[in-house]
Each structure stands twice: as C-alpha cells, then as structure tokens.
C-alpha cells in the first residue's frame, strides 16, 4: 500500500473546519429557514462526512475500487430511503390496488 502521509497541518485544518461546521449547523438551527432547515443541516452533515472520509479515512488516497464501493454504498442507502418514501409519501394519491 503506497503511503501518502499527510501533514499534521492538513489534519489540523480539517479538524478545525469540522468544529466550525458543527458550530455553524448548531447556530443555523435557530434560524427559521422553513423547509430548507433540513436541507441545510443535512448538507452540512454530508460535508463533514466527506471531510472525515476523504482526509481522516484516507479515502482520497485509496484505490478506485474502494472509492467506488463507498459511493455505491451511499447510493444503496439512498435507494432504500427513496423507494420507501415513494410509497409512504404517495399513499394518498391514487388509492389502494384492488379497490
């Protein structure tokens, strides 16, 4: 495994960024953004996740297979959520089959 050894400075920058983002997401929660509150909160969470994954877990230095596998996993989670939602959210639309 080729070693890409990042500097302490790199890690520290990411760490501080993560702390700042945590502060931001907490503060923003107190602002009324209507339906966008959820989107903003989740977006910040996704950014934090990407920082941890890419830098702390060295995903950016990992092989393409690993990167693809992780992307696919997130996609799978998305499929499970999206399709279940397709049911839950649309139950009122057309009635129930067989009736």
């Amino acid at each position: 495994m080729t070693q890409h050894i990042d500097s302490v400075k790199t890690y520290a920058v990411i760490w501080i960024s993560l702390l700042i983002l945590t502060g931001v997401t907490t503060a923003v929660a107190f602002v009324d953004l209507g339906p966008f509150s959820v989107i903003v909160a989740l977006s910040i969470a996704v950014v934090k996740m990407m920082l941890v994954a890419l830098f702390f877990m060295h995903l950016r230095h990992s092989g393409k297979v690993t990167q693809l596998a992780m992307a696919a996993t997130v996609l799978w989670l998305g499929i499970m959520v999206a399709f279940t939602f397709a049911d839950v959210a649309t139950r009122g639309w057309m009635g129930v089959p067989g009736r």
Binding site: Y11, F56, W76
Partner: protein, 192 residues
C-alpha cells in the same frame, strides 16, 4: 474493513429509514421532542468526538512514520475522548430517565395529545444513540487492544495495518454521530 463498513452503513441505514419515515409523518411532534434535548451538550459532545477523530488520525500518521511513542499517546487521547463522550451520553440518558422520556410504562411527554409519536421519537433516539454507544464501547475495546500492542512495540512503519483499520472503524462511528446530531438535536430549534 471497508467491506465491513459497507454492512454497517446498511445496518444503521435501516434505522435511519425508520427515523425518516416517522419524522415525515409527525414533523411537529418530532420538533417538540427534539427541543427537549440539550443542544449545547449535544454540540459539545459532537466536538469531543471530532477531536477524538483528530487524535486518531494523528495516531495513524504516527504509526506510518514509525513514531511509537506518539502513536501510543494519540491512542490514549482518543480513548479518553471516547470515554468523555460516553460519560456525557450516560448523563444525558439519565436526564431523560428523570424526565420520564424513556419509552415504556412510565413514559410521559408534556404538551402533546398523542403520546405515541413522541414515544416513537424517543424510541428511535435511544435505539440509535444506544446502537452508536455500543459501537463506541466496541471501539474503546479495539483502542485498548491497539494501545497494548503499541506499547509493546508491535507496530512499525512496515506493519501498522491494525492501527489503520482500527482508525477506519473509529472514524466511521464518528460519521454516524455526525448524522445523528442534527437529526435528533437540531429539528426546528427556531421554534422554541
């Protein structure tokens, strides 16, 4: 470890799905229940875990460079921060217990007519933070084992794989919390 983490994502994912479905069904009650959690403690705990990820990756780096002492110190720091997190969590849970927000026969949430959805929020809260805490405990076990081996000088620049994959596990558990925090603590805080 990466393949194992795939299974973990789907494992937690099932519960995230349940959360999403019920939050969409009962947005107001979930918001109300969320506000009963202490957001400052939650945020502070998040910071604690992020710091532990920082010390963890420094530990991995130390291992890559063969710096045995730095490795051991960083693992100790990671472990300590992990315990801080768990301690705070235990404190939070105790609070919930006192407030009668623990699902079960003594559950009672003020201010809502239908107790059911509120209980659902807390069921998901305890289930998901509980599962997360369990993973933290396992992580602490892994860290302890790594620490023992690090002190014994078992790891070097050529062989640090266990540290590497232990780090992956620890960061993953951190990522789960990164999502748990906003989903449980930050629902419509502006309403309060």
């Amino acid at each position: 470890m990466w393949v194992f983490l795939i299974t973990e994502v789907m494992f937690f994912g099932g519960m995230f799905l349940a959360y999403i479905v019920y939050r969409a069904a009962y947005p107001d009650i979930f918001a109300l229940a969320s506000s009963s959690l202490n957001v400052y403690i939650g945020a502070a705990n998040t910071a604690v875990l992020l710091c532990s990820s920082f010390t963890m990756v420094l530990g991995v780096r130390a291992a890559q460079l063969g710096q045995k002492k730095a490795l051991a110190i960083n693992i100790v720091l990671t472990l300590l921060l992990g315990f801080v997190f768990l301690g705070v969590k235990a404190f939070e849970w105790r609070e919930k217990f006192i407030e009668h927000h623990v699902p079960g026969p003594s559950f009672h949430f003020e201010g809502v007519a239908m107790q059911g959805p509120a209980q659902l929020f807390f069921s998901l809260y305890f289930a998901m933070t509980g599962l997360h805490a369990l993973h933290m405990v396992i992580g602490a076990g892994i860290m302890t084992w790594l620490l023992i081996n690090a002190i014994r000088g078992r790891y070097s620049a050529d062989y640090m794989t266990p540290v590497d994959i232990g780090g992956l596990y620890w960061h993953f558990v951190d990522i789960i919390w990164i999502f748990l925090f906003p989903l449980f603590y930050l629902i419509d805080r502006h309403l309060k």
